[in-house]
Amino acid sequence: MATAEIRFSSARMNGRRTAQPRRPAVLRLLQAERSEEIFPLLLEEIIALGYPRALVMDVNLDSGEVTPAAAMKWPQAQLEKFSSALWMQDHPLIGVLHAARPEVLGKGALYSRPLYVHPILYSNRNLCWEADRIRTASCLAVQNFQREKRVRLEDQVCSTCEMRAYAAAVVVELPKGHTEQRVAELGELIDLANRYLSRLFKVEHYYNRMRDMEITIAQMGTVMQSMADPVILTDTQHRVIMQNKAAERFFRVPDEMTEGLVRAVEFNNLLFSAALSSMLVSGSDSHRDLTLVDAIEGEEMLFEAVSAPTYGPDGIQLGTVTVMRDVTDLRRADQELRLNYERLSEAEEVVRQDRDRLNLIIENVGDPIVVCDGKAKIVLVDPLAQELFGTETDVVRDTVQFQNQTKLTAFIDAFTASFNDRETAPLRLFNPALRQEIEYDARSGKIFGERGQVSYTVTVLRDLTALRRVEQLKVERRMLEIEKFAATGRLAATIAHEVNNPMEAIKNAIYLLASAIPENASPVYNILKSETERVARIVRQMLGLYRNTEQVKPVNVNTIIEDTLLLLNRQLQRANVEVQTELEVLPDAVIAADQIRQVLSNLVINARDAMPNGGKLRIRSRHIPGYDDLHGWVRILIADTGSGIPPEMIRSIFEPFVTTKGERGTGLGLWIVKGIIQNHAGKLSVKSRVGHGTTFKIDLPVVKL
């Protein structure tokens, strides 16, 4: 806080003024415009009143020193006598100062002559402006004036305006024969001067304070401008009172701006105003995130605005100061961090699920699984592998497990060191449950560590014996079936062959007897004839299977289908059977065309017989490519809309002498069909629904030539 100093012009010290018509002292003192002019004027007035000499002792309220400030007619050498300090209680001058009342010091007390000592103190009759404004009576000037309390020179700072008071003492040498009245007049003059001095002092105090404030404001302004963050001072209506350069970048419209940026600035202002309002409403929370557009760079930036209300000295809110922090990078980093965290959590969840799934899989594989570390040491085994190798933690193993483990370790060691990522090898291990050595198919894979080194190997052991046994059983069963079929066929053929010649004779004999049969015997003769023909058909069918009169060669199955249908066309028309064909482009199949023709004609005739009242016969063919380019199948579908085959019969229709046609059928058609398809390494199947129809499916293998 500024301190008013009592200054005086040294030029005037001890100076004489040219004699002029004297004006009353009051008016002369009023001429003073500055506080330092008061003491010289006062000393001149005192001398003018006829006192020989006078001086003013100034009290430094900080140091307590009391030193001469101005003197008139007083020899310089004598002034030192009066220098003292407030703590020197015995000093006559100090006593007067503490008592705060004028006193006449007798001759010799301090000086060779009697002295009039008049202490003066900053005092005013009226409250200072500040005390007046805040309606308090505790104004130091008034207190000093009214002398309500004992004046304490150590405590001369105003509690309201913080103004530091001044204290001084006017010392006047009294001439011989001084009267009390004249001394009283002198006192009044000094009080008057003090009153002027106090007023000037107060004005100067306020002036100094204003100057200090200006400096402070300038300093604050510099601080504000030098801040990199935007700082904005707004009034209660959110109008900008003041903003720093950083803020102008966003909120002030420079002249040379493009229209787009002007709009950006307007938008920024709008956003800012809205944020201020919301902060004001919410009261406690004075943080807001704001996205503003940089009017110069045109970039979007994210700010955190922190606002605080500004209050006047009277406690009334004047406005808001807002400091904005550029958190673009911070928020981006924060966002990235959060994103990364989320990703991490997701990944963790995935890993957890994977692990659970993996555990589940391992538990349910049904094959022994062994996980080894990079040094071929077992770290994980499933229950099945435990039987073979013992648990991963057990040190004590029985000899069988130890032997198995040695074999496994040898294999894993070699695999770990090899360059292969995976390997399959046979491994003979002793199975304690089966009490025998079993060949396993050991399939191993590597799990690599970060630096590409083998961290783990996973080995799945498949019991090949079981697999092979199943495989062999399947083959055996199939062989047996084929053998059975062939044996049946051979037997049938042998029987047929043996029956054939007698049959031929009987048939011929019946033919020859035709004309010799009496009329009454003709029904019997007809039975004889038709039944013989039936036996002949059976024999013919049976022998037909073995009449391999044709070589196999590449044939398009579609032409065989077309030939067969052409041959049977009239029969089908007569039976009122509508034929639909969907024949796709087929590769040639290596087949015996005659036999396949017989297959087709047997199936077509069966279809016709299944539809006594007519119906639809659909024949489709298509090529089914195999897993490689080379192999594949030709598929033939023959479907009728006939009576269907009862479920209880469907298993036996391919057996010999099974027929749905009663007397008319030989029961050999489908048996022959099956035989022929089997001879071609083909597949034959049937689906049927009673009342809806039957579909035969034939797959013949084709090989790309």
């Binding site: 062959h497 033919y511 022998l543």
Partner: protein
């Protein structure tokens, strides 16, 4: 050969009953038939006589085959039409028959087929002979029509 002579058929089968019925059927059809029960008999016959057609069972007594009989017949008359009557023929047999221009009829043989095949063979042979300047009467008709 005279124009109105009967066509001569040689039938060979080791089953007597079958042989007899073939003979009777062919005779009823108007052929002159020589029936032989063994290959020996048949070969002896073809060495002395000419036939218009030879119908011969494939498997004869003691591993003899119809091929032997037909070969013997063709030594005298290389153009003579011939057919094997058989219940069962291997692929080799069928191939050989085809190569040598010998027909195959599978037993049981439909009588209509039997007669039409026989008459076709006779007629075809006759026509090729006619081209060589000889006149032949048409082949006998089947007794049963349709």
């Amino acid at each position: 050969m005279s124009a109105d002579r009967k066509y001569r058929v040689l039938v060979v089968d080791d089953e007597a009953a079958v042989l007899l019925t073939y003979q009777l059927i062919l005779e009823r059809q108007g052929y002159e038939v020589l029936a032989c029960g063994t290959s020996v008999q048949a070969i002896a016959a073809v060495q002395n006589e000419r036939f218009d057609v030879v119908l011969c069972d494939y498997s004869l007594e003691e591993q003899h085959t119809g091929f032997e009989v037909i070969s013997a017949a063709r030594r005298l008359d290389p153009e003579v039409p011939a057919a094997l009557l058989t219940g069962y023929a291997t692929k080799e047999t069928a191939d050989e028959a085809a190569n040598r221009g010998i027909g195959v009829m599978f037993k049981p043989i439909e009588i209509e087929e039997f007669l039409s095949t026989t008459s076709n063979m006779v007629r075809r042979n006759n026509e090729s002979k006619q081209e060589g300047g000889e006149k032949a009467k048409p082949a006998p008709q089947n007794e049963h029509q349709g």
